[in-house]
Amino acid sequence: MPALLQMIGRRLISAIILLWGVTVVTFALMTIVPGDPAAANLSQQAYDDPELRAAFERKWGLDQPIWVQYGRYIVNLFHGDLGVSQQTHRPITQDLAQYIPATLEIALPAMILAIVIAVALGMIAATRKGSAVDGGIRGISLVGLSTPPFWLALVALYVFFYALGVVPNGGRLSNDYDPPPTITGMYSLDALFAGQWDVFADAVWHLILPVGILTALSVSGLLRFVRSAMIEVLDAEYIRAATAKGLPPRTITWRHVFKAGLLPVLTVSGLMFASLLGGAVLVEQVLSWPGLGQYAYKSALSLDLQAILGVTLFIAVVYTLINLLVDVLYTIVDPRIGAK
């Protein structure tokens, strides 16, 4: 166990270095590039007025040398202050608190569903390797990997909203409903906590399409890993031994192959969550879902440094935490790794 604690300690230190690196890189990037926040945020008329422009730059500290800006940012960061968005004129923390739950509300169910579906399909494909079923499953995965996410979202919106009319046209709630009192920031859960069943139903109804699209996108990526990991296990000596000693196939499948298929899911879950957030940018854009992706997009367009930093820091923290968790779980699931 001390080895495990040591590992966690080491990882936390490298996580802090990584986060520091993120701030440096983002800061450096935003200052060396030609983009001018004043030009992106002020109207042409205001921009042409030197006084207004100077006032804008003074207000956001853009007139200070870059290291002063950076030092200020880091000091504030330690106070839990991520700065103020030039775009929304609200503290970044407040913005994030609003947008992150919206994205988690679609990303978390999508991730869970994707894992369940990918493991199930991967197992079916691996145990029937070379069959038509396997071919079909691989084909679906391939199509998923080759489809532009935004296009898939658009096609789904066309089919299920425009043609069939079974889902709403994007957004988080219908106009008839007010958001439930904020507890988690996820409308569906909050409505549940507040006992507002009609709001809950409406929120879930709005979730169907984005969650479905994100699930479909993640399944195709994950499926490859699960399938190939399971095929590798099926070729292993101990499976041969298990078959030879007459264990029923079902026992082998569930006791050995299933477990082995979960390992790659663990390994890639950090990457997967990152790519889910990436996919969310595009899907949120199509379905006008006011989440982190849209926030990042708008911040990037208006060169809102503080907001971009806030988003990237959040993603880097999540990514690092997931990877840390994965490594800890790994040492528990597979003791050979901890021993090294």
Partner: protein
């Protein structure tokens, strides 16, 4: 082999239980040309030809109004027209002239940058390796599209900046793969022999290390061609790619998203992306299988 008694022979001949047949040893394919690779190659070739012959085969000018606005697919406009009356088919065909060369540029530049970094990290090891790979990890900690979006927005939307942004987000993949093959190659005896025979570092790198460690990266480059097309389309979908009115597939799909009822505007460019990316993916997988059947599981995204 007469040791097997008839009853044992019978056991040996009964088909193994369904579902466990894959236990048989892997038999490497002798030819690279399977129906799948032929079709994939054909699809890619068809798109390349479309790019080269675009002025000849496209029925209309992709940037000019050539018919009524928002016309559904018809005899005159096989894929319909968009909200400015431009012919969708012509724009899809001309789209190859952007997507294909740009994807190639993204992959080549990423390969050069990532290859150099990976080579340095793998060959020199120690501090060089540590610093370079930490930077690579840093870049990989971001969702590709978010980082690319931030970079492209910061530099201002244009073709060149979209390519630059995508090179910035994708070089670490090549750096990693090159580094790991260099790590194993540099321990080979021929590298030591070369050094002992008086090769300089540069000569050793160029003559011994690079040719023997480039394979996996080149395979990945094939697959990444498809990915580059996808990412480029995503950036232009967000308005961070080629400026309008350029006929770019992602931008065309974005146009269709504002005219949901006119499905043909975004359906066809999407299918174009799907077919060519799928062809690259299939071809990349096939090359990987052919060169090293056991590496199939190693590919990480």
């Amino acid at each position: 082999m007469t040791i097997l008694s008839p009853d044992r022979l019978a056991v040996a001949k009964t088909p193994r239980r369904r579902g466990f047949r894959r236990n048989r040893r892997f038999t490497p394919r002798t030819s690279f040309w399977t129906p799948v690779t032929v079709i994939s190659f054909g699809v890619i070739l068809a798109w390349v030809v479309a790019a080269i012959l675009a002025p000849v085969i496209a029925p209309y000018d992709p940037l000019e109004t050539s018919g009524p606005y928002l016309e559904a697919p018809s005899g005159a406009h096989w894929m319909g027209t968009d909200d400015l009356g431009r012919d969708v088919l012509s724009r899809v065909i001309y789209g190859t002239q952007l997507s294909l060369p740009l994807a190639l540029a993204i992959v080549v530049f990423s390969l050069l940058v990532g290859g150099t970094v990976g080579l340095a990290a793998g060959y020199f090891g120690r501090a060089v390796d540590n610093v370079l790979m930490r930077v690579a990890d840093l870049v990989l900690a971001f969702p590709q599209i978010i980082l690319a979006m931030a970079v492209a927005a910061a530099f201002g939307p244009s073709v060149g900046n979209a390519v630059l942004a995508l090179v910035i987000v994708s070089w670490p993949l090549y750096a990693r793969i090159i580094r790991s093959s260099v790590l194993s190659v540099r321990e080979q005896e021929y590298v030591f022999s070369g050094r002992l025979l008086g090769s300089t570092t540069l000569k050793s790198l160029v003559k011994d290390v690079i040719p023997n460690s480039a394979g996996p990266a080149l395979v990945m480059a094939t697959i990444e061609l498809g990915n580059a097309i996808l990412m480029l389309a995503a950036l232009s979908f967000l308005g961070l790619g080629p400026r309008p009115p350029a006929a770019e597939w992602g931008a065309m799909i974005a146009l269709g998203s504002q005219n949901l009822g006119n499905w043909w505007i975004s359906l066809f460019p999407g299918l174009a992306i799907l077919t060519i990316v799928m062809a690259f993916n299939l071809l990349g997988d096939a090359i990987q299988d052919y060169l090293d059947p056991r590496s199939r599981n190693a590919r990480k995204r």
